[in-house]
Amino acid sequence: MKRSSSRLAALAGTVALATALTACGGQNEAASTATSAGAAGGASGAALSGEIISDGSSTVGPLTEAAAELFRKDNPGVNITVQTSGTGGGFKKFCQGQTDLSNASRPIKDEEKAACAAAGVTFTELLVATDALTVVASKGNTFLTCLTTAELKKLWEPAAEGKVTTWDQVNPAFPKEKITLYGAGTDSGTFDYFTAEITGEEGASRTDYNASEDDNVTVQGVSGDANALGYLGYTYLEENQSALKAVQVDGGKGCVTPSAETAQNGTYTPLSRPLFVYVNNAAFASKPQVKAFVSWYVATDEAITTAAQFIPLNAEQRQKLQSAADSIG
């Protein structure tokens, strides 16, 4: 009898643990609603509440995260969720009407538009920031200062696979050193954009390179090898200035260093790319919190992009963004 009761106690203990875990979550939640209610009371005007759901590109995600953080300082009652299923995955949910906003590192494709239309989802495209895809080499590299897009194509096109293996094959002026390449994995928008611009066909790339969805892997690999080359988002270069050097890109009008200015004024071509947020028009019209957030996002876009270490829009683009946002309402 005693034995069985101690065993029952063990079972009860397990159950109690599970209940306690849940209860603990509940208490914290109660406490937080109390504080957020207090804060909302202090804010001026009618307090907004409700949920905003966004999904999409992991490149644009941090920008919307920064926007959400800043927005919630004044509107703590609004719960903003940022998911990162990738641009394609984000559009899939967006066109099923499951999300209010979709972050995208490329414009919406025709078949995605068709899916949206079939589900009766109307949307507005907002160009919110610029990214510069950056070709990088190690600080220890001496010969890679500028590459033309033709050289990049020679290096990355599918025909180069297994054939272009030493740097002198890319440019006779380069030493006969073995090439090591790092790049984005095939699931990322970065890969889509780079291949479309460099090899001329989206998705067409040599495959004998170190592919990773995580740009930090590229940072590590390139910084440790003087003969390595990789490409990644501009923020990763900014954060790793001490280990990496940017390779200038010559798109036909001379060598251009990737920077906020050259991406903004359009001289860093073809690798500067627009980043988008797509807004579900119906959500904008029916949910006051979505309307408030999007209007605020557009009006404060420059501060948000700066805070999130993205490249802000130029004056012309900002005007277009404002008029695009005005057209929703």
């Binding site: 063990a10 599970a18 937080s32 959400a68 940022v82 499951q98 930090n216 805070a307 270490q309």
Partner: protein, 309 residues
């Protein structure tokens, strides 16, 4: 993803055979060079596995150390202030999702195991089919359960990125493991106990409820906790379901959005900011401590209450 063999509880010794002893060369009087070489190879393998683990843990610990502070537990994820980013939403999200998982999987799993072990007729084809499928289900990759739950959620009109959907996916994931562990534990209870109970006039249901099940509790608890700790470390099915990488509020119900520790760590680890990767390492330590605590609890329960018949 942990190997399945780690998760099934140690097989209880069956009453018919003596417990197997560890293989030692001396015990069998076998000290041929081949057998010693094999033993050395085994030890080296073990050493290699342990040192890889140690290096990984040490690396995470050293890089996470600067951020093992209070803000890690009280602050939300942050992009504009990466130095003060915390895993509060992720910790609470893990607790919520795991709570739902436990509430769904434990009663269902134990009940299913009791039926299969104590009441089901093994000769029936459908029971044998269920049995064969259970073993297969335990080996199904976690992401499949995420896809299944996503499909079901879409069909019934439930939003996908919510606590309930996450808990459901993880419950499906660990259900076969719990059923198998519970059946092992029930099988280890000697049939004499059941026979004695039945002989004293107890109904089969009373026998299970008052005798068999209480005797099996240590095994059930061990298996369940190990299964839950597997669920806790799982990111793939939840990512597929739309567990968010960024949430700045506490989950407040079954239909609330959520993130969990593994998702949050995954999100942070890929970010350009060094500070966010540091906080990812710190969050890894939190997750690790939680997992170790759960596994320790499982071991304690097993050692304390397990009875050899």
């Amino acid at each position: 993803m942990a190997a399945l063999s780690d998760l099934t509880p140690p097989p209880a010794p069956s009453p018919a055979q003596p417990p197997t002893r560890p293989l030692r060369a001396e015990r069998h009087g076998d000290d041929s060079p081949a057998s010693i070489a094999f033993l050395v190879a085994l030890w080296l393998t073990l050493l290699f596995a342990c040192s890889v683990l140690a290096v990984l843990l040490l690396d995470a610990f050293i890089s996470g150390l600067p951020r093992l502070d209070g803000a890690l537990f009280t602050a939300y994820a942050s992009t504009i202030n990466p130095d003060g980013a915390g895993a509060r939403a992720a910790i609470l999200g893990s607790v919520w999702v795991l709570g739902v998982t436990a509430a769904l999987a434990i009663p269902l799993g134990v009940a299913a195991a009791v039926y299969l072990e104590e009441f089901a007729d093994n000769q029936r084809w459908y029971n044998r089919l269920i049995e064969a499928n259970l073993q297969n289900l335990a080996a199904v990759p976690a992401i499949i359960y995420g896809m299944l739950t996503a499909g079901v959620a879409l069909a019934v009109g439930l939003r996908r990125g919510v606590v309930l959907a996450g808990g459901l996916a993880l419950a499906l994931l660990i259900l076969p493991v719990i059923i198998i562990a519970t059946r092992e534990a029930l099988r280890a209870v000697p049939s004499e106990i059941r026979q004695a109970s039945l002989a004293l006039g107890a109904t089969p249901l009373t026998t299970v409820w008052r005798q068999t099940l209480p005797a099996a509790v240590p095994g059930v608890a061990t298996g369940t906790i190990l299964a839950l700790s597997r669920a806790m470390g799982e990111a793939a099915p939840l990512l597929l379901l739309g567990g968010a990488t960024f949430i700045t509020y506490d989950p407040d119900g079954l239909l609330s959005g959520f993130t969990t520790l593994p998702i949050q760590i995954f999100g942070w680890a890929g970010r350009p900011q060094e500070e966010l990767r540091t906080v990812a390492s710190a969050a890894i330590m939190v997750l690790l401590v939680l997992l170790l605590a759960m596994n320790t609890l499982a071991i304690v329960i097993r050692n304390r209450y397990q009875k050899r018949w």
